[in-house]
């Protein structure tokens, strides 16, 4: 296996780098900057049962070393995604992960099942953690029992490996992780954004139309590292790590903390080439710190 390759359930990745859900659309825009085949995988924007228009604007705000977003799961709906977006991504030699969202158990099942008939989707990322949907997402994401139920339902509905994306907005991340592992999750994806807010001083009101939004970017990296470290010591399914990654050294930090692959979100906005630049830089960072390959790193940090 080559230096950067890593194999996860359903995903034979040529490198451990993928853009994070919601930060890369369905790949079209960034395909104008570089060849998407360079990516380990692509995680698509969330899919819901039918089209969603999301929240009112403003939907983003800048914060110190981070940003808030409250997009509200805007997406064209799972049928449109399968018809119009997946075929586009199928042109590239990369794995495709569908991010599955919903307001009800039934919606999650429906969306997950819809991807069964598409050849070019290799895994599901079950988004039980989006803080910007009022109807259910957040409860699924903070209650271990609910999380287990939706995981089981999606596993039953789908023939693809399921990575459950955990919310950091919980007192006890480990019990969430264990609950979804026990419910049959093939992997974890962590972390989603931390709920935050910014007040617009001239109006004295929350800047985002949705009031609260999800905090992402380098600001949250220490929280992501802590949660991945905590969880990876106690679960045996692999973790796709994310939260504030902007450099190849950040990737190494996530792998040492216990992740087996990583996703890059917010950093794409600052530098559209960030994913490929990280991929190019990774071999140098590996050798700088004395590692032969990605698989050589994985888990080293947590093995003692």
């Amino acid at each position: 296996m080559s230096q950067l390759a890593v194999n996860l359930p359903g995903l034979n990745l040529k490198n451990p780098i993928m853009p994070a859900s919601g930060c890369f659309g369905f790949g079209r825009e960034y395909s104008e900057f570089y060849d998407l085949s360079k990516l380990g995988a692509i995680i698509m924007k969330a899919a819901t049962g039918s089209e969603r228009f999301g929240n009112r604007t403003p939907r983003v705000a800048e914060t110190a070393s981070g940003m808030l977003n409250a997009i509200g799961l805007q997406n064209p709906g799972v049928e449109n995604i399968i018809k119009h977006e997946v075929p586009f991504l199928a042109n590239y030699n990369t794995s495709v992960i569908a991010n599955v969202a919903g307001s009800t158990l039934e919606e999650y099942e429906h969306v997950a099942a819809a991807f069964n008939d598409t050849e070019h989707v290799h895994a599901l990322e079950l988004n039980i953690s989006c803080p910007n949907v009022k109807e259910g997402g957040i409860q699924f994401g903070t209650d271990p029992e609910m999380a287990a139920r939706v995981t089981e339902a999606v596993k039953r509905a789908s023939n693809l490996p399921v990575y459950v994306k955990l919310s950091p907005n919980v007192s006890d991340i480990l019990s969430m992780a264990k609950a979804v592992e026990d419910a049959g999750a093939d992997g974890l994806s962590m972390i989603n954004t931390i709920t935050g807010m910014q007040i617009h001083l001239p109006s004295g009101k929350p800047l985002l139309a949705n009031k609260t939004g999800g905090l992402s970017g380098p600001a949250i990296k220490p929280v992501a590292i802590r949660m991945i470290y905590e969880v990876s010591q106690e679960v045996s399914i692999p973790i796709i790590g994310m939260g504030g990654i902007t450099t190849a050294e950040d990737v190494l930090e996530f792998l040492l903390a216990g992740a087996s692959a990583v996703a890059v979100g917010t950093a794409n906005f600052q530098n559209p080439f960030v994913c490929v630049e990280i991929i190019d830089e990774l071999p140098h960072v590996l050798s700088k710190y004395g590692y032969e390959s990605i698989t050589d790193v994985i888990g080293k940090g947590v093995s003692v």
Binding site: G22, E29, E32, F53, T57, V60, Q270
Partner: protein
């Protein structure tokens, strides 16, 4: 196509209260930019890039001019940048103003820091031999800029909120008194655009919109605006920032 480009600052100066004119050098953008498009500027220490309209382009000299107002931390920082510095920008971004080859007289209506993209548009239209009328609104005398530049393109009326320069009032106060025009182009604060589209609802017109952006390239859905029929949406960074006045709901 949008590129990620390094642009060199050739000059930077204050042209009105808190308002700066910066001339940049870059081959690719100077050859490809169209009126209405913007640069998405990386500012050190900031997560998000700052969108700034292209106010002028000289393809021979390979220069791009931007005008910006010091609003918050990002533009504050850009205002300190010195000639010789290199900026990292995405551009040219967004679509441009749609130009109908049948239009012979056009009205430009700018408000405050919405004026800049109209200058590049006006210059382009003037070169094509069209008649230009410009109505530019500013808060006060201190805020006025580019009066001479617009006058060089055609009739130009300046209004200020406090009457300290030009006529007193809003741009909409003088719109009645203008003659016939085939199309208007406007950029400025949302209330101004709303007032304009309400006053001349049946007039062909294009407006340039602002919204807080994440990616600036169409990937993140941060900058959407509902279409007029409320059945769809457009992305300001990619489908815009210019829209037909009838296309979107303000």
């Amino acid at each position: 196509m949008i590129n990620k480009e390094q642009v060199t600052i050739l000059s930077s100066k204050t042209i009105a209260l808190d308002t700066f004119e910066m001339v940049l050098n870059n081959h690719y953008i100077s050859q490809h930019a169209k009126p209405g498009q913007f640069l998405h500027i990386y500012v050190e220490g900031h997560t998000l890039r700052r969108p700034i309209s292209i106010a002028n382009v000289d393809p021979e000299q390979e220069t791009i001019t931007v005008l910006f107002k010091r609003m918050g931390a990002g533009t504050q920082k850009i205002a300190t940048y010195q000639p010789g510095m290199v900026l990292d920008v995405l551009g040219p971004s967004g679509n441009g103003f749609y130009i109908d080859s049948n239009d012979s007289t056009v009205l430009l209506i700018g408000g405050g820091i919405g004026v800049p993209p109209l200058y590049f548009l006006g210059k382009t239209l003037a070169k094509q031999g069209r008649k230009i009328i410009s109505v530019l609104g500013f808060q006060s005398k201190q805020h006025v800029f580019y009066e001479q530049e617009f006058k060089a393109l055609g009739e130009t009326i300046i209004v200020t909120n406090d009457g300290s320069f030009g006529e007193q009032g809003f741009v909409t106060d003088v719109m009645d008194s203008l003659g016939q025009y085939d199309c208007y182009y406007s950029c400025g604060p949302l209330p101004m655009l709303q007032a304009i589209t309400a006053i001349v609802p049946n007039q062909k017109g294009y407006i340039s919109l602002e919204e807080r952006m994440g990616c600036g390239v169409g990937a993140c859905f941060a900058c959407v605006i509902p279409t007029a029929d409320e059945a769809g949406y457009r992305k300001i960074c990619k489908d815009g920032p210019v829209f037909s006045a009838k296309e979107v709901t303000l």
